[in-house]
């Protein structure tokens, strides 16, 4: 079917991950002729969201072919609930409308007893992210989405709260000024101290190292906070929850992280973060849509086999790509690290630490609140050698799961493997008994998936200057590095061109074929004006 695929392009992009998709959009936007391919049948690569069926297929695919160099490994999936429901009324083929109504009324009175069959029946309502990430409200991605007008393809929800693990329990972190003053967990003296410290952090400026931080270059953030006289609780909030750090975090890194957090407060909601509706996997697609709107050609299910650089008669070089017995030519190839043929990569491997991740599906939130919460929880390391753990809990209102459930993501740097790295954290906030009827102050975990991902976020230089390799997802909370890398790749391909100028609104577009030209305008005045 796709054999009428055109073969000559200025830019060919392979892989629909975040970085590749932004580059594709940026090139297409300024008029480059772009072809965008992906070897799989869906968008996003390692940045994809899957519905429950898609997730199962993905797990099967990885497990079925361990010899292939998957960036994902150690997948371990577990159910904590029965295959079939013992309740007789669960006959919900396609009558989702009715079923929703009963769900609503039932939720008030009693909790639904979930079975694996319910997950299968409602598979479409899940959007499970392989790379869940938040956006800082004033971070580079939000600014880019707004300035490029790509924001119109996406919807967001505000993260409603930031939690941390303090004194063996979950504790809300006061993030805004109002929060700080409203909280009872912090005394008035502490409040003054905290506000003073936060103010000096906001004033921090990298270029002109001001007096406040000039002696802190080689010290830890914790030392700084202690020096400032902050109480242990305050240090905990600032270091672990706001900066997302550990005891070893260098001072200036902590200051930078805190500043980023503080600068994004007060734009949209009570916290500095946004979460994309239907999951992070929507975002690469938004950039792909823009690319297509400006003429980019899209073809999924199209793996590439081989890449060669050919020198033409006039000394001009082209990138020739073999794909399904067809040769595709371009001046620049942009390729995701996971799709890049080995011959284009440098031989010495890059040193990185991998990432441990987990997805839990639970029957309730980790900390009940009036409205459906959307939570960022930051754990300090619980062990000597461990790293901080980031937890994101998203509910049905985000389009991530059916009503009555929550999807909870865990992310940390790998020490041993995902399960050993994360299980002890999960055990603190979930009930793994599988008994959905027993009373418990923790939500029941119904399903868990642990996995490790190779950290491919370090930029890799390809062996040819026409081939641009895009990094994979990093362990960080936001998309900032992806945006930054995409802009760098774009600048290499299109030096001097504007990066994603604002796309016009539909009202502003004039179609060439509707313009009825009026009589020629008398130009004399103009010309005279120019001459003067």
């Amino acid at each position: 079917m796709d054999d009428d695929l055109p073969t000559d392009f200025e830019v060919i992009v392979v892989g629909t991950g975040m970085v590749e998709s932004i580059v594709a959009a940026a090139c297409s936007r300024i008029g480059k002729n772009v072809l965008h391919l992906d070897s799989s049948d869906h968008y996003g690569g390692l940045w994809a969201s899957y519905n429950f069926d898609g997730l199962q297929k993905f797990i099967k695919e990885v497990n079925a072919d361990p010899k292939r160099q998957w960036p994902v490994y150690n997948l371990s999936e577990k159910w904590y609930i029965e295959k079939e429901s013992s309740e007789p009324e669960q006959n919900e083929d396609k009558k989702e409308g009715d079923e929703n109504k009963t769900d609503d009324s039932k939720a008030e009175t009693q909790k639904k007893i979930w079975s694996q069959a319910n997950f299968t029946a409602e598979y479409r309502k899940f959007n499970i992210d392989m790379t869940p990430k938040l956006l800082f409200s004033r971070g580079p991605l939000v600014e880019l989405l707004i300035s490029s007008n790509i924001a119109r393809y996406a919807e967001f929800r505000c993260v409603t709260r930031v939690l941390t693990w303090l004194n063996d329990r979950l504790a809300p972190v006061p993030c805004s000024r109002a929060d700080v003053f409203a909280t009872e967990a912090v005394s008035i003296v502490e409040k003054r101290m905290l506000m003073k410290m936060l103010t000096s952090i906001v004033g921090y400026n990298e270029e002109e190292m001001n007096n406040e931080f000039k002696d802190w270059n080689d010290k830890t953030f914790k030392e700084y906070l202690t020096h400032k006289g902050l109480t242990p609780n305050l240090i905990h909030y600032v270091l672990y929850a706001i900066a997302g750090g550990t005891d070893k975090m260098p001072c200036l890194e902590g200051v930078k992280e805190c500043k980023k957090f503080l600068m994004s407060l007060g734009r949209y909601g009570n916290t500095p973060f946004l979460w994309p509706m239907y999951g992070s996997g929507e975002l690469p697609q938004c950039f792909c849509r823009l690319c297509a709107v400006f003429g980019g050609v899209y073809c999924l299910n199209r793996p590439i086999d081989k890449v060669e650089i050919k020198t033409l008669d006039e000394g001009k070089r082209v990138v020739a790509i073999q794909s399904k017995s067809k040769t595709l030519n371009c001046n620049n190839l942009v390729v995701g690290i996971d799709e890049c043929p080995k011959e284009m990569l440098p031989t010495e491997p890059v040193e990185t630490s991998d990432i441990s991740k987990a997805v839990f599906i639970t029957n309730g939130t980790i900390m009940p609140s009036e409205k459906e919460p959307l939570t960022l929880l930051r754990f300090p390391p619980l062990t000597e050698e461990g790293h901080a753990v980031t937890v994101l809990e998203v509910g049905p209102a985000t389009g991530s799961c059916p009503k009555g459930l929550f999807v909870v993501y865990f992310i940390t740097k790998m020490v041993k493997d995902a399960e050993s790295d994360l299980q002890q954290y999960a055990a603190r906030i979930f009930d793994f008994s599988g008994d959905q009827t027993a009373e418990s102050d923790k939500p029941k975990c119904l399903y868990s998936l642990y996995y490790n991902v190779k950290d491919t976020s370090v930029p890799v230089q390809s062996v040819a200057s026409e081939v641009h390799v895009c990094a994979g997802p990093d362990v960080g909370l936001d998309f900032d590095r992806a945006v930054e890398q995409a802009e760098q790749v774009f600048k290499k391909i299109c030096p001097g061109e504007e990066f994603l100028p604002r796309a016009p609104d539909p009202e502003e577009i004039v179609f060439e074929d509707d313009v009825t030209h009026g009589p020629e305008f008398a130009r004399h005045d103009d010309e005279e004006g120019d001459a003067q």
Binding site: G97, A154, C288, Y298
Partner: protein, 202 residues
């Protein structure tokens, strides 16, 4: 704010060349674009119509060519209120692909979305799909059905007006897929009535 009471998102799908863009432009601009010039930079078109004295704004989204190699983004289907599936009555393969399209719709679109099957190009002399075959197919899959000609402006106005009427009725009985509660677009161009309930201006 702008002067309209309802805003509905309508998306078109169907094989390349069945006339999706022509239907949109016939309706929104009253013209039939000559030639197959790719519509660069056009994302969606807007037309405000009046139903029972109330202004209804239709935001009509085209596939941006991603249907050509069956590579439409899932996010295209998100938050749609109505979905128009188009085939060309003079081209059997475009009709044969309908089950594939339905599968994709089932997978990604809200299951309460209003679905309309449209056989386009009734102006063509070389019809391959009899009207009743299309009608049957629509009926079997719980879709509305209409035959149109974007070229002759036949039934195009009617198609979109009926969608507007039906969506408004659904909106009034609250049967419409609900997409509220989200922050909506972050650039603050559109207000969304949700939890936050406020207009978010950057």
């Amino acid at each position: 704010m702008e002067d309209y009471k309802f805003l509905f998102k309508v998306v078109l799908v169907g094989n390349a060349g069945v006339g999706k863009t022509c239907l949109v432009r016939r309706f929104t601009q009253g013209l039939f674009p000559p030639g197959q010039g790719a519509t660069i930079g056009v994302d969606f078109m807007i037309k405000t119509v009046e139903v029972d004295g109330e202004k209804v704004k239709l935001q009509i989204w085209d596939t941006a060519g991603q249907e050509r190699f069956r590579s439409i983004t899932q996010s295209y289907y998100r938050s749609a209120h109505a979905l128009i599936l188009v085939y060309d009555i003079s081209c059997q393969p475009t009709f044969d692909c309908l089950p594939d399209w339905l599968r994709e719709i089932e997978e990604y679109a809200n299951n309460k979305v209003l679905r309309i099957l449209v056989g386009n190009k009734t102006d063509r002399e070389d019809r391959e799909i009899p009207r009743h075959i299309g009608e049957d197919f629509a009926q079997r899959h719980g879709m509305y059905f209409l035959e149109t000609s974007a070229k002759e402006a036949e039934n195009v106005e009617r198609l979109f007006m009926e969608i507007a009427v039906e969506l408004m009725e659904q909106a009034k009985c609250k049967e419409l897929p609900k997409y509220d509660g989200s922050l909506g677009p972050i650039n603050g161009k559109t207000t969304s009535v949700g939890d936050s309930g406020c207009c978010l201006r950057s």
